[in-house]
């Protein structure tokens, strides 16, 4: 079992973590036609926007209630109301994602009351679901904010689909939809848009209908649309959200998605399984076996279990095994230091461990039950200064772009992972999960060592 140490400092030096509201906004961005709205002062939104724009190299729609000193003291109701009305007029969103910040949480705005009275005053907004999540900046990290937002997304009532509400479905596909088995995937913050894309492809290959929450692969994956968007151009749609209760099963990817899966079970009785990672042979095996069983499910108890995995993935599995053979020469015995959010840390460190690498140091951002199960004796909840103290002597550092300076200083190669990544292209399409993603990840690491002549 891993012991968890919190650094004793009163100062974070070169912070590793980003704020929970940023995480919540990111989760909201995986819904279609949404504008995430920060209830706070304008700077928080501007910083979050700049970070996401630079990471994804995309235009990112984020809005703010623009609280001032005076409006903070008086309470935010008027600003929230005005912001919602302005957004409705300007962006015509299908959904709104409202999240709090440190400022408004410290003030203690009664958000439920405020939303209620806005609803009363504006019956014309009845059609517009507002997903609310409380994300004080001073509690947790990006991963926490992301998880809280996902939980709010699945806890919100979107009404039942009426015909006119079904945006994209044609008559034929509508029929298909209702007869096809549907699986909900809760995609944790450890997954990038490229990962989500891969997951969707895999689930669909089993003949299943997939409902991913949140689906970043449609919104910040880096594709050219024909129109300019002041709300997200893709992602999980409102009509999909209205179909949530139809799912036969929930697969939560990332430990932090547990509470959201639990919520779905409570609301709709949907059983779930939490897969804390989706990288590495055994982890992907488990995922595919689960899908095969769901695809094979019949309510008839006498049904013979004979789950099938598509040929394509059987072949990819053998390719991964070969890649593992090829790369283990380069990864075996290597000492790796990581600074990542808990879920990503768990996924990545276990994969490395399984390839024969050694985890020299692990630094993370926030507490999580998964931290007890890392392949290392000790993990520090801390910052990049802690990593700088722990990493000397390792062969590889894995963290976000902010680790560049310390990696250079220590003369250790850096593999970039997490948020933000400013100095690499393709963050919207990189895929590190599934057999294929694992393989690509192993090759990337192997190549780093080959380059160095290890």
């Amino acid at each position: 079992m891993t012991t968890i140490t919190r650094n004793k400092k009163s100062v974070a030096v070169n912070p590793l973590k980003q704020s929970p509201p940023l995480g919540a906004a990111l989760a909201f961005l995986g819904l279609k036609g949404i504008v995430p709205l920060f209830h706070g002062s304008q700077g928080c939104t501007a910083f979050a926007k700049v970070l996401l724009v630079r990471h994804f190299r995309e235009a990112i729609p984020l809005a703010t209630t623009a609280m001032t000193e005076v409006s903070t003291i008086l309470g935010g109701e008027e600003n929230i109301e005005q912001a919602i009305l302005t957004l409705v007029e300007k962006a015509q969103p299908n959904l709104l994602g409202l999240l709090t910040t440190g400022l408004t949480e410290t003030r203690g705005d009664d958000m439920e009351g405020i939303l209620k009275s806005i609803r009363q005053r504006h019956p014309e907004l009845d059609y517009l679901p507002i997903i609310f999540v409380s994300t004080p900046d001073y509690k947790g990290s990006l991963q926490d904010g992301f998880a809280a937002a996902v939980q709010s997304i699945v806890a919100t009532d979107y009404g039942t689909p009426i015909k006119s509400n079904v945006e994209t479905f044609h008559e034929t596909s509508l029929q298909q939809i209702t007869s096809q088995k549907q699986v909900t995937i809760l995609a944790g913050s450890l997954l990038a848009p490229g990962d989500v894309e891969e997951i969707k492809e895999i689930v669909e290959a089993f003949g299943l209908k997939v409902l991913v929450i949140p689906d970043l692969s449609g919104s910040v994956d880096g594709h050219l649309d024909d129109d300019y968007n002041s709300k997200t151009p893709g992602g999980t749609s409102l009509s999909q959200l209205q179909q949530l209760k139809r799912s036969l099963f929930t697969i939560a990817i990332g430990e932090s998605m547990g509470p959201a899966a639990e919520t779905l079970q409570q609301r709709f009785g949907t059983n779930y399984e939490i897969l804390p990672r989706l990288t590495g042979l055994a982890a992907v095996d488990k995922f595919l076996w689960l899908l095969a069983q769901i695809a094979n499910y019949k309510s008839d108890p006498d049904w013979q279990l004979n789950p099938q995995v598509p040929q394509k993935y059987q072949r990819q599995r053998r390719q991964l095994q070969d890649a593992i053979l090829d790369t283990h020469f380069y990864l075996g015995g290597k000492k790796v230091s990581l600074a990542l959010e808990p879920d990503l840390l768990y996924q990545t460190s276990w994969l490395l461990k399984e390839l024969g690498a050694e985890i020299q140091a692990a630094v993370t951002t926030t507490k999580s039950s998964i931290l007890k199960e890392l392949p290392i004796d000790n993990v520090t909840i801390g910052d990049l200064e802690d990593l700088e103290d722990l990493a000397p002597g390792s062969d590889l550092i894995i963290t976000n772009s902010q680790g560049k300076r310390l990696a250079d200083k220590l003369n250790i190669p850096l593999y970039r992972m997490g948020y933000p990544i400013y100095d690499r292209l393709g963050n919207g399409s990189r895929c590190l999960v599934g057999y294929r993603g694992t393989m690509q990840f192993l090759f990337a690491l192997g190549n780093i060592f080959l380059e160095l002549g290890h």
């Binding site: 704020s19 939104t45 235009a59 623009a66």
Partner: protein, 465 residues
């Protein structure tokens, strides 16, 4: 910071926004309230960091929850020729407990830990929304720490919710005025000492200009704050002239240094030939003797001759290309005059953050068909681009993906850009970038429809036997 002080800064008399509109009372650009749902800009804390973080050897400690520093540290584009302490992120990263019991103790410990481990010559401590709301006494903590460690610990009272980035710039300037300028003496002075104020050495722009000053015999005593050391700002009060570069951002510094130390100030720009020439001439005229003025003329003649040769091929390729320019205030007309030098046309530009004087200059450069955009968002911009049939968009990084998604060439002109455009060499750099953006072979590809999207398919093959 006391309320009256913020009100003072908003009504900064050195600011054109106030000057010219004195009669009507309100200065729109400065006090304009951010609009819920529509606001896009940074906060006062952001502005204060923009103004102060370029001080390279100081530690910049942000007192607040992770939102303020965690999402922004290390991403400023200012370059350093020496220390890199300013590139580090320091924050108290306060938790719920600190909010309940007050964050002063944690702040004091944080300062202690930064001094003990990194020994910076000074620490700037920034307040933020939450720590201001709970009433942490930044000034008192900084005072106590300064005494204890004999290191200047400077409070910057810039909580985001007091206002915009612009106001934050000034709040940063106030901290320099109150705690830094005038606290040390330079080794020696010369009659040709100037300060550069409001130039942050983004992408190393200063380095394109400093050699020119050296060549003519003007000494830059203090750079406020691009590539500055803490020490050099302390003795800035000994300069003979303040040259305000991004003029409005730190205008309060120019005006107050005139008041306190009798240093006159002028407002200049480094963008484009004409502005650069004028800048050198104006400085020489203010502080120089005839010899200096003569040297300035010689350098201008040399540099512009060299420049003409270097720019000739670009001028031919850029002639009459149309751009839409979208950037704040003073940069609008600077970039416009640079574009003008290259023979390009600015068909529309923003006047959002511009003063009346700026607006007049812009109008002159725009000509009668030009469009002045009073406000703008991404959608608005795209409309104007379509309407004017502009060849490219020149704007801040924030709008980059707007332009790219619309498949329009783009040049980044703000904070996060990577190329230095100041001075004569900067103009060559800018010409190169314009050329590269406009004449890239990619535009045709990203606009090209797929063969199956064409109404007349390009070619048919006979499939089968």
């Amino acid at each position: 910071m006391t309320k009256p002080k913020i009100a003072d800064l908003l009504n900064e008399p050195g600011c054109e926004h106030n000057h010219k509109k004195g009669q009507q009372g309100k200065n729109k650009a400065c006090t304009q309230q951010a609009k819920p749902g529509a606001a896009q800009g940074g906060c006062a804390f952001d502005g204060a960091s923009i103004a102060l973080v370029p001080i390279t050897d100081a530690a910049h400690l942000v007192h607040g929850p992770i939102a303020c520093a965690g999402n922004s540290w290390g991403s400023r584009g200012s370059l350093s020729s020496g220390a890199t302490t300013y590139k580090m992120g320091f924050t108290t990263d306060i938790s719920e407990n600190d909010i309940i019991f007050g964050g002063e103790k944690r702040l004091y410990e944080a300062i202690t830990q930064v001094i003990k481990r990194y020994h910076p010559p000074a620490i700037f401590v920034y307040s933020t929304c939450v720590t201001a709301l709970i009433g942490d006494d930044l000034d008192a903590v900084c005072e106590a720490a300064s005494q204890k460690f004999s290191t200047p610990v400077i409070p910057v009272n810039s909580p985001g919710f007091v206002g915009s980035k612009n106001l934050g710039n000034r709040l940063g300037g106030e901290s320099l005025l109150d705690y830094v300028v005038g606290t040390a003496e330079p080794e020696y002075t010369t009659p040709y000492d100037i300060n550069l104020i409001g130039e942050y050495n983004i992408a190393g722009e200063l380095w394109g200009v400093l050699p020119l000053f050296e060549k003519v015999g003007i000494r830059v005593l203090s750079k406020i704050t691009g590539d500055a050391t803490f020490e050099e700002i302390r003795y800035a009060h000994r300069a003979k002239l303040n040259v305000m570069i991004c003029s409005k951002a730190l205008i309060n510094m120019g005006r107050k240094m005139e008041e306190r130390y009798g240093i006159p100030y002028i407002e200049e720009s480094f963008y484009g030939v004409e502005d650069m020439n004028r800048c050198l001439r104006n400085i020489a005229q203010k502080i120089g003797d005839e010899a200096l003025q003569q040297r300035v003329e010689t350098v201008i003649a040399e540099e512009t001759a060299k420049l003409d040769i270097a720019l000739a091929p670009y001028r031919a390729r850029l002639k009459d290309k149309k751009m839409v320019l979208y950037t704040g205030g003073v940069k609008s007309w600077s970039v416009m005059s640079a574009a003008h030098d290259l023979g390009m046309k600015v068909v529309a530009t923003s006047t959002k953050k511009s003063t009346e004087e700026d607006k007049a200059k812009i109008k002159k450069l725009l000509g009668k068909d030009g469009i002045a955009l009073a406000k703008g968002n991404a959608k608005e911009l795209l409309k104007v681009i379509a309407k004017t049939k502009a060849d490219m968009l020149v704007a801040g990084g924030r709008n980059q993906y707007t332009a790219l998604k619309a498949r329009i060439p783009f040049l980044d002109i703000n904070q996060e850009r990577h190329n230095p455009y100041a001075g004569y060499v900067g103009l060559i750099e800018m010409a190169k970038e314009f050329d590269r953006a406009l004449h890239s072979p990619i535009w045709q590809q990203v606009r090209q429809p797929a063969p199956w999207e064409l109404s007349v398919p390009p070619e048919k093959v006979s499939v089968g036997k």
